[in-house]
Amino acid sequence: MLTLRFVLRNLARHPLRNALTVLGIAISIMAFGLLRTTVEAWYVGVSASAANRLVARNAISLVFPLPIAYAGKIRAVEGVTHLSWGNWFGAYYVDEKNFFANFTVDMRSYLDLYPEYVIPDDQKAALLRDRKGMAVGQRLARRFGWKPGDTVPLKGTIYPGDWNVVVRAIYTGRYPNTDETQAFFHWEYLNERMKVEQPARADRVGFYMIGVDRAENAARVAGDIDARFRNSLAETLTETEQAFQMGFISMSEAIIMAIRLVSGIVIVIIMAVAANTMAMSARERMGEFATLKALGFGGGYVALLVTGEAMALSLLGGAAGCALSVPVAWVIAHVLGDYFPVFLLSGETLALQGAAAAVVGLVAGAVPAWRARRVRIADVLGR
């Protein structure tokens, strides 16, 4: 305990210098955590994917559709328990700037396949009843102030024209990482209008969503589906929902890499700063270390003092950084909610922040501790 008091009081010896170092570590650890959370937010579609869901799409490209006639054949594949389908709709609301994710789906089967979209029973019934009915995530509803019963005039882009849909259901996410910023309405409604307005585009779907009995069977089922449509006019590419989501992210891989790199650099910089503080602190005290050694303390004890001080410094900063991250992440989630459907500081990120702080302490203390360990008594003490 005397040793602990010794270490802690040394921290108080240069209050300003150490406070600034702790502040620097706190901010770096916070930045590290927030950058990591940003990357996680990017991957939210991937992490929210279920292992027993597959996506089948046109093998050539996502922009080419598949015939609705495939549904029966897919359903017949062994291991398929659920089947739904839909299209990316890509409409905007009032102004092109008001971008949000919207698509059409085969509603009943889609809701069966996505139990994480939680809808009150009465709203669900109303949604299924109304062919122009639309389900929206609660964050999206809050953003535009939509309530059940509101008619929403959507401007079509991929499917030109005015689409007056009616908000019938507002879903909430079952899990923290469930995306609550999406909207989807009936594929039937789209298809009916296509039959009239652009018959060539009728009876087409952008993707099939497939539920598999067991996650272990996913790969086999995907293979069976693709085999079934090989050499047909529209070949399919079936992959897990996770791989499908990953495909979107790979487009922004460079940005994500850059963010990862920056979060690493932040830690390296703060390591250098903390190491400098520790080097100064240790250099001032070489006489003290030599005295301790003269008294019979080993190099290990002296190194422990330095390492302990570096650890105390960085863990203090790390704790402050983690504590700061929570409210700041909350603010970001609310201010940038339009861009990040989910911005959540995960337990894993908090653990990594703590680990990063510990590594900063160890690295910062290493060289000064080594020097202190090797200090030669007679060289330092008064002659």
Partner: protein
């Protein structure tokens, strides 16, 4: 070659002057400090044989000590004098085991400390040698009691026992009322007394002091010297003290002169 010869400075007799600090401390000599009393007869003799030491300055080798022979009897109070740069501190450091000889041997009792490895030498120091430095070398962030307790971390004593002993040692140097003061809150003399308590607390046989009064005013210096000669007389501690203050040397039982790396009679 060089042989240490006894000087003719008469040892101060016990009756002369007494030791105010020791007297001021309740139960200083023994009584409450049984752990400090046992060393009275146990101090080992110290014997240096053909000790040489040189420092390298760039490509140049600077000899500091050349084949020094010297003997210190158990319980002796020895003063080492000599001009600055003559190697007094070097010699003291070798005897105290914080520096290494180039050649020769240093026996303390049965042990030739020049043959010990670093870890064994550190262990030997913690048990056998108490250090008193010119600039006290107290730990500024620890209070007087904690400073004195520090060396006992190397013993198997419990925290309670350690503090008990540290209190006793501080009482012996007359600082019972300053235990929770930090070095910065103590005068030079009080700091040096704290350092002496720290040197004593593990009950070593030998005390080494490098210019212990060099940084003190005359009155404080006198008190420190009184304290040291009291420890020598009442507890039988062997003391080797480097000084160039004749008044300090006067307190020693014997004075050795070191000049150009060689020992000589103090009155040569």
């Amino acid at each position: 070659m060089n042989r240490a010869r006894e000087s003719s400075v008469p040892p101060r007799s016990a009756e002369q002057g007494g030791t105010p600090d020791m007297d001021a401390a309740p139960g200083a000599a023994s009584g409450t400090a049984p752990f400090l009393a046992q060393s009275r007869t146990a101090s080992p003799p110290i014997l240096l044989q053909s000790v040489s030491k040189a420092y390298r300055r760039g490509a140049q080798v600077v000899p500091v000590l050349t084949s020094v022979n010297m003997a210190v009897a158990p319980g002796e109070f020895l003063a080492l004098m000599g001009p600055s740069g003559s190697g007094k501190s070097t010699l003291l450091n070798l005897i105290a085991g914080i520096d290494r000889v180039d050649a020769g041997s240093i026996h303390v009792g049965e042990t030739d400390i020049t043959t010990l490895d670093d870890a064994d030498l550190a262990r030997w120091r913690s048990r056998s040698v108490g250090f008193i430095f010119q600039f006290y070398n107290l730990i500024p962030v620890l209070n007087a009691l904690e400073n004195v307790e520090l060396p006992l971390l190397l013993t198997p004593l419990s925290g309670r026992e350690r503090r008990e002993r540290a209190r006793t040692a501080l009482a012996m140097v007359g600082l019972s009322d300053r235990m929770d003061h930090y070095p910065g809150q103590l005068s030079g003399g009080q700091q040096q007394r704290t350092a002496i308590a720290r040197a004593l607390v593990a009950d070593p046989d030998i005390l080494v002091a490098d210019e212990p009064t060099g940084d003190l005013d005359r009155v404080s210096a006198g008190e420190i010297l009184d304290l040291m000669s009291g420890l020598n007389r009442t507890m039988g501690k062997t003391i080797i003290m480097v000084t160039h203050d004749p008044r300090a040397a006067e307190r020693a039982g014997r004075v050795l002169l070191l000049e150009k790396g060689e020992l000589a009679d103090a009155h040569a």
